[in-house]
């Protein structure tokens, strides 16, 4: 049985029919074709599916689409400026070699943005603690921490 929901994703209002059991991540990927949000586990442990829901950092693999009725969701596809300029967090990951295979990157950037908004002056250790729910198997995290630090500094300046 489908259920109608209205969700604003990256500023665009979508009204759609979903099964009550449909996960937000599948709604984004399969119904809205926003495939930048990835699935790395099924147990809320890897962070690949991290998005923002009404300003909070959440895991789209353990959120039902119907829970988001009337809400605003922001995904990696919503980071770039309208003129195509990269968001400071995107630019920082590029400039600091904060990604290799790229699979964890969208979730990692969304989680990092949450950290920067909550703790703009976070130390490197605090950044590490705050990102512990987002796993990366490629980078060893050193350049991810550097990326987040650089983005935080850039966002504080602008």
């Amino acid at each position: 049985m489908g259920q109608s929901i209205t969700v604003t994703v990256n500023g665009t209002v979508h009204t759609a029919e979903v099964e009550p059991r449909t996960l937000l991540v599948h709604f984004l990927r399969e119904q809205l074709n926003l495939t930048g949000t990835h699935i790395g586990c099924d147990t809320s442990t890897c962070g690949c599916c991290t998005v923002h829901l009404d300003g909070d950092t959440i895991l789209a693999c353990s959120t039902l689409a119907v829970q988001c009725d009337g809400s605003e969701v922001r995904t990696v596809e919503g980071l770039q400026a309208d003129d195509g300029a990269l968001h400071p967090i995107q630019q920082a990951f590029h400039e600091n070699h904060g990604l290799q295979c790229g699979f964890c990157t969208p979730g990692m950037m969304m989680a990092a943005l949450g950290v920067i908004e909550q703790q703009p002056d976070a130390s490197d250790d605090e950044i590490r603690e705050a990102l512990e729910g987002n796993l990366c198997r490629c980078t060893g995290y050193q350049n991810i921490v550097a990326s987040v630090r650089a983005a935080a500094d850039q966002m504080a300046r602008s």
């Binding site: 930048g36 990835h38 099924d42 699979f103 490629c138 980078t139």
Partner: protein
């Protein structure tokens, strides 16, 4: 970081160029296999054995088939395939290779073995359908431990054999017995290099699309080895390689887990043939834990005969390798890489090696980052510390006394390899200086005042990389070569297409290959397009693994660039009406020596070659060249890792305070990328040292099937690292490169364990097994002090 460089957006060899791959990944426009949708595509979910060993007596698919949205349920009896999974590895020629059906035939031999396949409109319905497939199992006796599997009377994993032995690898030098008899003392050590799971963040997944009208099979799959997959799909599915196209879209990490040909890749192709529609399967994380290969799983027994100065005069190595229930693509060859590297970077000429490979009721093991070499390095580096401890010599000093010396290169190892180059002591010295090894005693005293145990550990390593000379792969019984392919094509606009047979999944080949092209051919970095990931465009290649991409694929590119440059030279001589000997290469143009006004840029020559208005005799149109490069030798990256830890006596928790790595990977194309590889490699080695272990219960159940039980390090678990390099160019290739993809993992685990053992040496602790989780360390401390 100790390595200084300034990043830039373009550049040639040696520059820290930012990656051209990045933009699609940071914008969410990467295209991984689960992001692809084909018209009329259906979804598959596999029914897997819940038992470690069982006879399948009946499969009832009726309830699943009755579920609306389910299109088919396939089993061994109904899946249209010609054969089972094939292995390309048969060292010695007498390896036991039991049949591995695509879907289990009569027996399931590990928990997670696929038994049936449900095809439905979407993955939710397919999952529901899988729950409705009723399989009757008769459970059978199980063996999961490799040593127990070799005991008389152990349950047989494959009843057609009289034991669980897969193969014994042996290598004994003539002088071994005499040398060991003369040793002043013999130091023994048992090391359990535990089973681990690669866990790339993107699980496996694939889409099979079989066209009935053309007979063409297209497989989209998350793999490191598209061309192996193409050949094996053609064999298993009974069609021609020319009809099979394998596409590897963006691949979200591999680490060896995707250096294989898997049942599901064949199954989606065959199922697409059966159902007449494209079939997608995406592995979930728990499936990834049980259905994708594992690594390591090797128990080692060392006996080192040493003289009074701590020089190893004879070394005995006896190991048992857990192959799991079946041999995958390279399984029997992985411990052969261990065999190669048993002596490490030490001058040990009298050696005795035996490695017994066994079947067990577990997921098959195969190549995981380092693949056989981390096992060898971890063991010998633990052994060096045991020798230092036994003789009361400093850990760095005992290594110095045993190192192969610079003047010994090229060095013939006791295991039959020719090491290319290295300055191990200079590398060690640099690492000791960067880590302030000399100042450690003061830091230890300070920690002791704070009630903490502090230790420092070394790991000096050499690895065999650049897989592989084809003559060697043949001698090892690997039914595949080791060369790599490249094509370079210049377009009329002067821009270049580079086609490579390597298969990057995070390594940044598009960037590094563009840098090589800029330096060697003068085509600007931004004007180079690197093509990979589709067998329709890259007709041949062997993929990315074994730190081979640069040392083999990069050289294939280098040679094609040289061929294009020389063809351009002939064209330039023709157009400038001079002899080719009158020309000199400026880096971007051919010019008449000493006459800058008489020159043709590479772009002008690309256009002239394309228009073909006036070509020299015997020269074909278009500046294009192809190379199949077979390396003359392996490469031998090496280095020193130093780790400093503090251990809390109350909890057993190990905190890494400093981590220094000095690696020698020969010449560097892009220091930014090289450092990234080292960072990631070290943290995978750290994961094995501190957290990761794939655990089976005695009943064959896997106890670590999710990321909740299987502890992949997070940012909060790992230290910042200090990196540096020494450079001894490899004489085996014209770029002098060695490879860096696995170095960090190979070097790391022993440095961390040696540091922890050093920290607890005051309690009388002489050895710790991995993973050194707090509970294990705490228990060891309690036992030592009680």
């Amino acid at each position: 970081m100790a390595v200084d460089y300034t990043t830039q957006t373009t550049g040639g060899i040696g520059d820290a160029v930012l990656r051209k791959e990045d933009r699609k990944f940071v914008t969410g426009e990467g295209r991984y296999v689960d992001d692809l949708k084909l018209p009329a595509m259906l979804h598959a979910v596999f029914v897997r054995s819940p038992f470690g060993h069982a006879r399948i007596t009946a499969i009832d698919t009726s309830a699943a088939l009755a579920l609306p949205g389910v299109h088919a349920v396939l089993t061994h009896a109904t899946l249209p395939v010609e054969t089972g999974v094939l292995s390309a590895s048969n060292p010695g020629g007498d390896v036991r290779h039991p049949e591995q059906a695509i879907l289990a035939k009569e027996f399931a031999r590990y928990a997670g073995e696929p038994v049936a396949m449900v095809i439905a409109d979407d993955r939710y319905i397919a999952r529901d359908g899988a729950d409705l497939v009723h399989v009757d199992y008769d459970p059978l006796p199980v063996v999961v431990d490799a040593e127990k599997a070799l005991e008389p009377g152990a349950p047989l994993v494959h009843a057609e054999y009289d034991s669980n032995l897969v193969k014994t690898l042996e290598h004994v030098t003539d002088g071994f017995d005499d040398a060991m008899a003369k040793a002043a003392r013999v130091i023994k050590l048992r090391v359990d290099n535990q089973r681990v799971t690669p866990m790339p963040m993107e699980t496996r997944g694939c889409i099979g699309d079989w066209s009935d009208s053309t007979g063409e099979v297209t497989l989209y799959t998350s793999t490191q080895v598209a061309h192996f997959v193409r050949t094996f799909v053609s064999i298993v599915c009974g069609t021609s390689e020319a009809k099979v196209r394998v596409v590897t879209p963006d691949v979200g990490g591999g680490f060896g887990a995707k250096l294989n040909t898997y049942r599901e890749e064949f199954a989606v192709c065959a199922a697409s043939h059966a159902v007449g529609r494209p079939i997608k399967w995406i592995e979930d994380r728990t499936e990834n834990a049980v259905a994708t290969i594992h690594g390591r799983a090797q128990v080692q027994y060392y006996e080192a005969g040493v003289d009074d100065n701590g020089r190893i005069v004879a070394l005995k190595f006896d190991a048992v390798q857990n192959n799991g229930a079946y041999n995958m693509l390279l399984t029997p060859s992985i411990s052969h890489l261990t065999l190669f590297m048993v002596p490490g970077l030490y001058d040990i000429q009298d050696i005795s090696i035996r490695i017994r490979q066994t079947f067990t009721n577990t997921t098959p093991t195969d190549a995981y980052r380092g693949a056989g070499r981390p096992e060898a390095t971890h063991g010998i580096e633990r052994l060096m510390d045991a020798i230092a401890d036994d003789l009361g010599i400093d850990a760095a000093e005992v290594r110095r006394r045993n190192f192969i010396q610079p003047e010994q290169f090229p060095y013939s190892s006791a295991t039959g390899l020719i090491y290319d180059s290295g300055e191990y002591e200079a590398n060690l010295d640099k690492a000791l200086e960067l880590s302030d090894y000399a100042g450690f005693p003061a830091r230890r005293a300070e920690s002791e005042q704070n009630g903490k145990h502090r230790g420092i550990g070394l790991s000096t390593y050499v690895e065999v990389c650049g897989l592989a000379p084809s003559a060697v792969t043949a001698a090892l019984g690997i039914g595949a070569p080791g060369w790599e392919h490249s094509t370079v094509r210049l377009h009329p606009t002067g821009k270049a297409t580079v086609i490579t047979g390597t298969s990057p999944h995070g390594q940044g080949h598009a960037t590094s290959w563009s840098q090589i092209t800029q330096t060697e051919l003068g085509i600007p970095f931004d004007d180079v397009e690197v093509i990979h990931g589709d067998t329709a465009f890259q007709p041949y290649g062997l993929g990315t693994y074994g730190s081979r991409s640069l040392a083999v694929g990069g050289i294939a590119l280098y040679r094609s660039l040289g061929k294009v440059r020389e063809k351009a030279r002939e064209l330039a001589a023709h157009l400038l009406e001079c002899s080719i000997d009158d020309l000199e290469w400026t880096g971007t143009a051919w010019q008449v020596k000493g006459s800058p006004d008489r020159a043709k840029t590479i772009q002008e020559l690309a256009y002239a070659g394309w228009t073909s208005a006036s070509l020299p005799e015997g020269i074909e149109p278009v500046l294009e060249a192809t190379t199949f490069h077979d390396p003359p030798n392996f490469t031998f990256p090496n280095g020193t890792h130093v780790c400093e830890v503090e251990i809390d006596p109350e909890t057993g928790r190990i905190e890494i305070l400093n981590y220094t790595a000095v690696d020698d990977c020969g010449n560097v194309i892009n220091p930014l990328i090289v450092d990234g590889q080292v960072h990631g490699g070290i943290i995978q080695g750290l994961g094995q040292a501190l957290f990761e272990e794939t655990v089976y219960g005695e009943d064959g159940q896997m106890l670590t099937p999710t990321l909740v039980e299987y502890l992949v390090p997070s940012a909060a678990d790992v230290p910042p690292m200090t990196l540096s390099r020494t450079v001894t160019p490899s004489p085996s290739n014209p770029l002098g490169v060695k490879g860096i993809g696995e170095a960090g993992t190979i070097g790391a685990s022993a440095a961390i364990v040696n540091a922890a053992v050093d920290a607890l040496s005051g309690l009388g602790i002489r050895h710790l097994e991995m993973p050194m989780q707090p509970g294990r360390v705490w228990k060891a401390m309690q036992e030592a002090t009680s």
